[in-house]
């Protein structure tokens, strides 16, 4: 091996950003190459992600409206007025409650369905495992608009699939989406149906990482299948559960597409979510208020994510 390779090697193990005199030249070449490779991403990222995030924060302290669309820098600062307005708005609070309802009911249901399906596929259904896996995952890759078209039929009061099935067992199903009580559970059911496959894949990967010997040891000790699951498998899955609950939680806090395509937030705001209401305010031209609401949502997501990490990591 030549000395050049050794030099490169020693340059590699040094922590980044602290070039020594000896390794300076190759490091500079690396820096140059790195920035050439990173440049297109950085430019697009600044323009279409970081820029708008900062712009959003700025806008939330102004009275910008749709009529100021062409002159976004000629608007007045109004301090925290938009935030105060949002928090004292009855519909916004309704939306916050609805979003909380959706997350608190929807996330556990999704995770239970996902974990159930994953255990079923990993331990039970050996033969057609990949067929089941693919089928359960189908809704995740399906357009929400197409899902809405399908589910409007599933949930329609008379000719609907759901009420027809309920009719067989003598239950007279309600008009799901037009009912203040049932609209939200309908959307939750639809969201669970659509999303559980995503968490299922992650659970499957987690389960496959648990060595067979763990279960065998439990079996030798006389533990039944439920006990083995509860006291051996589940604790080992803790990191996976943490991860899926955080990811699903972040997604569900942004609850938007289901009410957007199915109910427009109705009936009587019973399915309006924070994202949905933010979008409505955007539609009304209240840009300042809309961005303030989206920032409030962002803060809640950050806090909830932090709490989830704390809760699930300890104990």
């Amino acid at each position: 091996m030549s000395t050049a390779t050794l030099q490169e090697k020693s340059a590699r193990v040094r922590p980044p950003g602290r070039p020594s005199a000896r390794g300076r030249r190759p490091l500079d070449r690396q820096t140059l190459a790195a920035w050439i490779l990173a440049l297109p991403f950085v430019l697009l990222f600044l323009a279409f992600s970081a820029g708008p995030v900062i712009g959003s924060l700025g806008m939330s302290f102004t009275d910008i409206k749709q009529r100021d669309l062409r002159t976004p820098f000629a608007v007045n600062g109004v301090g925290i007025e938009n935030y105060v307005k949002a928090l004292s708005d009855e519909t916004f609070r309704r939306a916050a409650l609805n979003t909380a309802y959706f997350v608190v009911v929807g996330v556990p249901l999704t995770l239970v369905a996902a974990l159930g399906a994953a255990v079923l596929l990993d331990r039970g259904v050996k033969k057609f495992q990949s067929l089941f896996k693919v089928a359960y995952y189908l809704p995740v890759v399906t357009s929400i608009v197409a899902i809405a078209v399908i589910w409007r039929f599933v949930l329609s009061p008379d000719a609907g699939l759901l009420n027809t099935v309920l009719g067989w067992v003598g239950i007279d199903g309600p008009n799901w989406l037009a009912s203040k009580t049932w609209a939200m559970p309908s959307l939750i059911a639809m969201a669970v149906w659509r999303n559980f496959g995503s968490a299922m894949i992650i659970f499957l990967a987690g389960l496959q990482g648990i060595p067979q010997s763990v279960e065998e040891a439990g079996q030798l000790d006389g533990a039944g299948s439920w006990q083995r699951f509860r006291y051996l498998i589940l604790p080992l899955l803790r990191p996976t559960v943490l991860f899926t609950s955080v990811v699903t939680g972040i997604g569900y806090l942004q609850f938007f597409e289901e009410p957007f395509v199915m109910t427009q937030g109705g009936p009587l705001n019973s399915t309006v979510s924070v994202s949905m209401y933010t979008y409505q305010q955007f539609g009304f031209g209240n840009y300042g208020l809309a961005t303030a609401m989206s920032y409030l949502l962002f803060v809640v997501i950050a806090v909830v994510t932090f709490i989830q990490f704390r809760l699930l990591r300890e104990k």
């Binding site: 050049a4 390779t5 590699r12 980044p16 950003g17 190759p26 690396q30 190459a33 790195a34 920035w35 490779l37 990173a38 297109p40 991403f41 950085v42 697009l44 279409f48 992600s49 708008p52 995030v53 959003s56 806008m59 669309l69 976004p72 399906a117 079923l120 039970g124 259904v125 089941f132 693919v134 089928a135 359960y136 189908l138 890759v141 399906t142 357009s143 929400i144 608009v145 197409a146 809405a148 078209v149 399908i150 589910w151 039929f153 599933v154 000719a159 699939l161 149906w193 894949i201 992650i202 597409e257 994202s275 933010t278 979008y279 955007f282 961005t291 989206s294 949502l297 962002f298 950050a302």
Partner: protein, 270 residues
């Protein structure tokens, strides 16, 4: 082995719950309007008809929306493959100042809701004169933090010896990336490519606000506007439209499903 049959039964019941709405959509697209409104609903089409598809491709101009969706998805996918693999390699294998800061910044944006950037992005794109244009539809999605994460993870798993060998041979840093390392990431590129294509194909909210005239509609936008506009009661047309939106994605997903599920399992994100 006594337990096996009912485990399969649960599996199959789950299968039915997931598949029934899809099957109903497919069968429904061949039914007449009258049959779709019948109570109780029929399962198999009694008088099968292809009229819905005829209307869709004749009157409703769906071929054009189909081409729009394909064009946008292809360019977005190409952009993600090129740009995310470039920065992914830099973050994984090259030493430079600000590397960690850049990576943390990219990851942090995964947590920011789309709604936060939505309004300023709309104002910006409109002011740049890009509303109702293909660049307006495409540019905000050319890179994704998910893609960066995926590519960085994959590059990290490749041995450094290859890079050293390239340097000894006098290959430039960019040459090492393009000629030695990039060809090794084909599985990761396939994963990122298929996930990006699916995501772009299904993308809805942004195209809905940016595409203002019919000639710029993508398939989901067209379907959404049909299902709320004057065609809202034409259920056969909507079913056929949903089939046209869903079937290409299903075929593609089935062909590449191994890559899709691997990508989800590696990164945990869609």
């Amino acid at each position: 082995m006594r337990r096996t049959w009912w485990i399969y039964l649960i599996g199959v019941l789950g299968l039915i719950a997931v598949a029934a709405p899809f099957v109903w959509m497919l069968l429904g697209s061949f039914k007449t309007q009258g049959e779709l409104l019948r109570v109780p609903p029929t399962w198999w089409p009694q008088e099968p008809t292809t009229r819905n598809y005829g209307d869709l491709f004749g009157k409703a101009n769906f071929p054009h929306y189909f081409l729009n969706s394909t064009l946008v998805a292809l360019v977005v996918t190409a952009g993600n493959l090129i740009f995310c693999s470039m920065i992914g390699y830099a973050l994984a294998k090259l030493r430079f100042k600000g590397r960690n800061a850049l990576f943390v910044l990219v990851m942090a944006t995964l947590m920011i809701p789309g709604m936060v950037t939505f309004v300023p992005l709309f104002v910006m794109v409109t002011n740049a004169g890009l509303a109702n244009s293909y660049p307006g539809l495409i540019l905000p999605f050319l890179v994704s933090p998910f893609g960066v994460f995926l590519m960085r993870q994959f590059f990290s798993g490749l041995p450094d010896d290859l890079i050293d060998a390239g340097r000894v041979d006098g290959t430039s840093e960019l040459g090492i990336f393009a000629r030695i390392m990039l060809p090794l990431t084909r599985p990761a590129l396939a994963t990122l490519g298929i996930l990006t294509f699916l995501g772009s194909w299904n993308n809805f909210l942004w195209p809905l606000v940016i595409a203002q005239t019919e000639d710029k509609y993508t398939l989901p936008v067209a379907l959404a506007l049909y299902s709320t506009g004057q065609n809202a009661q034409n259920f056969g047309l909507l079913m056929a439209g949903a089939v046209v939106v869903v079937v290409p994605v299903l075929v593609m997903f089935l062909a590449f499903q191994r890559h899709v599920t691997k990508g989800i399992a590696i990164t945990g994100l869609k």
